[in-house]
């Protein structure tokens, strides 16, 4: 029987230990390594190769998307499963593009974890239900997702500086109306409704 080697990355040691312990009884899975620091993963994988990488999405120093891209570039055959707190649907698409094979939430149990591993190991994919629903509903409208112009990015950054439309218009020597129009377009393009949503979008997409 072939054993499948796993590598776990999560900034919460407790989660690592948890997964570790959960899989102790699953003989065909073996923990090749783990790390709290995503920046160390690449070189660790050189010494202790693995078949499947289980990684958190939101981590300090390096996010899951960057890590996944880096890993897939260096070890194209490796499968990646993302583990996350909530279903951050902005990032999920990024992760899909980065090439993940599965996605589970931290509120899933041992059984679902094993199911996900088995599926991915067999070359299939596994996505937590909540996720697939989100993705599908966003896919249709994801087509007409427009790119933000330079000016719009500039305005987003000023909004982030807590400037009002008036202040922005003064700063850029344009009319307040223009700022409002840009704002409208920004909200439309980013598919957000409030400054808060916009800010999260901006952070998630590294605009700021």
């Amino acid at each position: 029987m072939n054993t499948t080697r796993l590598f776990i990355v999560d900034d919460h040691q407790l989660v690592i230990d948890g997964i570790h312990a959960l899989l102790a009884s699953a003989d065909h899975y073996q923990i090749a390594g783990f790390s709290e620091n995503p920046q160390l993963v690449l070189q660790m994988l050189e010494e202790t190769p693995a078949d499947i990488l289980l990684t958190d999405i939101a981590m300090p120093l390096m996010n899951g998307v960057e890590l996944t891209r880096a890993v897939k570039k260096k070890f194209p055959h490796m499968k990646v499963i993302a583990i996350s707190m909530h279903g951050e649907n902005e990032i999920i698409r990024e992760m899909l593009n980065a090439g993940i094979s599965g996605y589970i939430l931290k509120n899933t149990g041992r059984q679902e974890l094993l199911t996900a591993l088995d599926k991915v190991n067999a070359g299939e994919t596994y996505f937590a239900e909540d996720i697939t629903r989100e993705i599908l509903s966003n896919f249709s409208k994801g087509q007409n997702e427009q790119r933000l112009t330079v000016r719009e990015l500039e305005i987003i950054r000023l909004i982030e500086k807590e400037m009002s439309n008036k202040q922005i218009s003064d700063q850029l020597f344009i009319s307040e109306r223009t700022v409002e129009t840009h704002r409208k377009n920004i909200f439309r393009k980013t598919n957000t409704q409030s400054v808060i949503g916009l800010l999260k979008y901006a952070y998630a997409h590294k605009i700021i």
Copy 2:
């Protein structure tokens, strides 16, 4: 040898399973029960009593502070250890007031978990290092800084979820006026002027 009974509360099943598995080899600790829903804990404890409660802090439906108060009120002899993502330093003080005996972060390992349990079980206290440092460093400058109440923190989190005052009032079953009042007080205490500033404050102070 006496065994110590534990009860685990965390909205992430994976964390529960993790702790569960981690302690499988620790003979003197026995998992009396666990739940993803803090609201069910009180009645579950009646049927399956425990000595130490391990609880997450940030949970939907009911936060760790409320749960701790309720549990300590009904079972005064029970010890409570808080487990949390980050060192949300605003809430730690609240938790201390609520009567916790220990505090660990989710990025602590198996060894530290056992140490914490042993200490608390022996009637002592255990607080993760990061925490004690935070608390102390914030104590000095905390003088002129107004403390946010539990309710206010709750509202900040709902604001962060892009909810309007109306939605927040519906969710908390209070008047929209009350939400407005809380908002005013929040802005005053945090010395911020806009939701954006507030959000940054919240992120900086690890409220979210």
